[in-house]
Amino acid sequence: MPGIEEIKNGLKKGFKDAVVSVEEQNPTRMFVDIKSAKVRDVSNAIVAMGGRYLVSVGYDNIARDGTLGMIHTFGFDRDGIYLALRTSVPESKPEMDSITPDIPNAGWSEREYMDLLGMRFSGHPKPKRLVLADDWPEGVHPLRKDIPWNLMPPAAEDVAYQLDECPEGCSIVPLGPYHPTLHEPEHFAIYVDGETVKGCDYRGFMTHRGIEKLCQTQLTYNEVPFVAERICGICGSVHATSYSQAVELAGGIKISRRAEYIRTIMLEIERIHSHLLWLGVAGHLIGFDTVFMQSWRIREPVMWLGERITGNRKTYGMIVIGGVRRDITDEMKDDIRNVIGTIEKELLTVQKAIQGDTAIHRRTRGVGYISTDDTKLWSLVGPVARARNVDIDVRRDYPYAAYDEMKFDVPVFDSNDVWATVLVRLVETFEAIKIIRQCLDKMPNDGPVLTELDAPIPALKHGLAAVEAPRGEVVHYVITGEKNAPERWRVRAPTYPNLQGVPLMLLNNQLADVPIIIGSIDPCFSCTDRMEVVDLRSGAAKIASQVELEELSRNKR
């Protein structure tokens, strides 16, 4: 591949001293080991060469060589190459340069490892707590190996997250953790000047369950797909597939073509029901409940179809390492054809009915605008990026499963607003139907659905896999372990980068449009927060303790 050589030479020439080694796992994956001092320069060089930042992976390697590892991962969309930039810092002085000032999307990843591993990043613009609860004791870093998986420190009162300072002349509107337009608990503090949003701070992750730690310590390889599937309430197969592919890449396992086709079908069925769900939710958020009822009515047969194929309407449980668990028979193929045929017809009716509706246009056009350059700078993914004229799609750029044989269009729109995300998702649903039809026609008739492994998976191999979820790009990073279980498993859901772009989308929009803008990224977050009392005159926020709140609510008549 000329692409890999080009990147390799570029890095070796520019950073002769810093680059320790370059490993090519296969033509699409490369691992570069560098010294930690140069991490910021090398990252910038990779981005300058056309790399798009994905996620960072930190891991505890103290038992082996006394270091904490850090991996920044990048994707070269044009060449279809994933690059993992590996470095490490000694446990005694776990400090390295932050890459966030140049690559803003790395902000959360770095904050995550400040919390979970106790690393320090010099030059980080916002070194606040991200993942851990506010009352979690200082100095206890749960992802380190010496911390037991079931540690539960006692809860503390009178600790609170300090919100970012409110811009002058603005008031704070707290949105969440419980709010009619938010479907999961999360907290946005929105700074408004009159009705116009001037900024926002986000506090989430409070229902962080530590499943990465749980799976690394308690479960074995083939149990993790079932936990992975439950990361997301809508796109479960995506996570299971991504995890399984990461392990398969790390262990050099080749699965049968038939299994890859079945995985593709399941992923696309999931995309149909996820996009229909989103369309309904979006309609609901702008107060257009007809869209909500009708798109969910159309969606229901897909759920029943999933139940007939896999045994469950949402948590398919189909995908394990080595292939899939259940076969798709000829009767099932006819069943799938019938169901997607009906959906195509009915969705066309819905599309025609809503496309010309001026109410929808007024609520979504020009709302949540970000320029294409900002979208690239913030490394946003999925329909959010495609609606802002960034032409990326994992299925086409880094083909996995059976996507290399599929013919489909990637819709890209350039109006850079919420309306474009509606269009992207509508077109993608029709494309998904097209892909399923191709899969059913081309699927090889023989071959096992599950490839058995002859030997255990070798330890300490790295695997990086990405899957295009309905919401965007899901990245899973696996380091294989010795005890038939992953040593490190890192999940990056598409909402992780997209949510970091939300403050930018909200900027200078109206307060009434906040729900649909947040909704337009199809957010999938879990978090809790405490309640706030805001003094509107001074604009200062005061956090009420539980005791005060109880008193307030009891005394009020």
Binding site: M152, T220, E223, Q294, G311, E452, L453, K483, N484
Partner: protein, 181 residues
């Protein structure tokens, strides 16, 4: 523009009409392949413990009361109905039934307990690993025999020999306590 799309919307709503199902007033049987409540056939079970070793939710517990008596408990209150137990069972003793109306006031209603008489094996004594050929599905990590049935706690310690001291220790095993309880 506005009016035509409203007319189209009326047709979109009127054509399918009412689609609400009359469940629970009308029964709604699950499809053939449904992964419902698992059922253990104690005639077929050989007590190998493969299901316990592969349960992602750790709802299946194994405890040896003595050399000959093994108790297996399925705790349905935490089951995720993934059906892996049925997949890996070498004797096909577990079936995923179509029953899904499992709401109950008592957790005991969804549990299943089996007391199995274990014949003394003259050979390796590892029936499960003998049957399963997939290297990734070998029973390699989780130990069993010593799970704490009362506390519903899996004891992840493996031992070749029956260890009386470990057995006594597991009687006192507790789940991690939540703050404030």
């Amino acid at each position: 523009m506005w009016l035509t799309s409203k007319i189209k919307q009326v047709f979109m709503v009127a054509k399918p009409g009412v689609v609400t199902l009359q469940y629970p007033f009308e029964p709604r049987p699950a499809p053939e392949n449904f992964r419902g409540q698992p059922y253990w056939d104690h005639h077929k079970c050989i007590g190998c413990g493969g299901c316990a070793a592969h349960c992602p939710a750790r709802t299946i517990l194994v405890r040896d009361l003595c050399q000959e008596l093994r108790v297996m408990v399925y705790d349905g209150s935490r089951c995720t109905y993934c059906g892996r137990c049925a997949d890996v069972c070498p004797e096909d003793a577990i079936t995923m039934t179509a029953s899904y109306e499992l709401a109950t006031g008592s957790k005991e209603d969804v549990n299943e307990t089996m007391e199995l008489f274990m014949a003394t094996c003259q050979r390796c004594g590892r029936c499960y690993d003998h049957e399963i050929t997939n290297a990734i599905d070998r029973m390699s990590r989780i130990g069993f025999k010593y799970d704490s049935l009362e506390m519903r706690a899996v004891v992840p310690v493996s031992s070749e020999q029956f260890d009386m001291k470990l057995y006594e220790k597991t009687e006192k095993i507790k789940r991690p306590e939540k703050a404030g309880e």
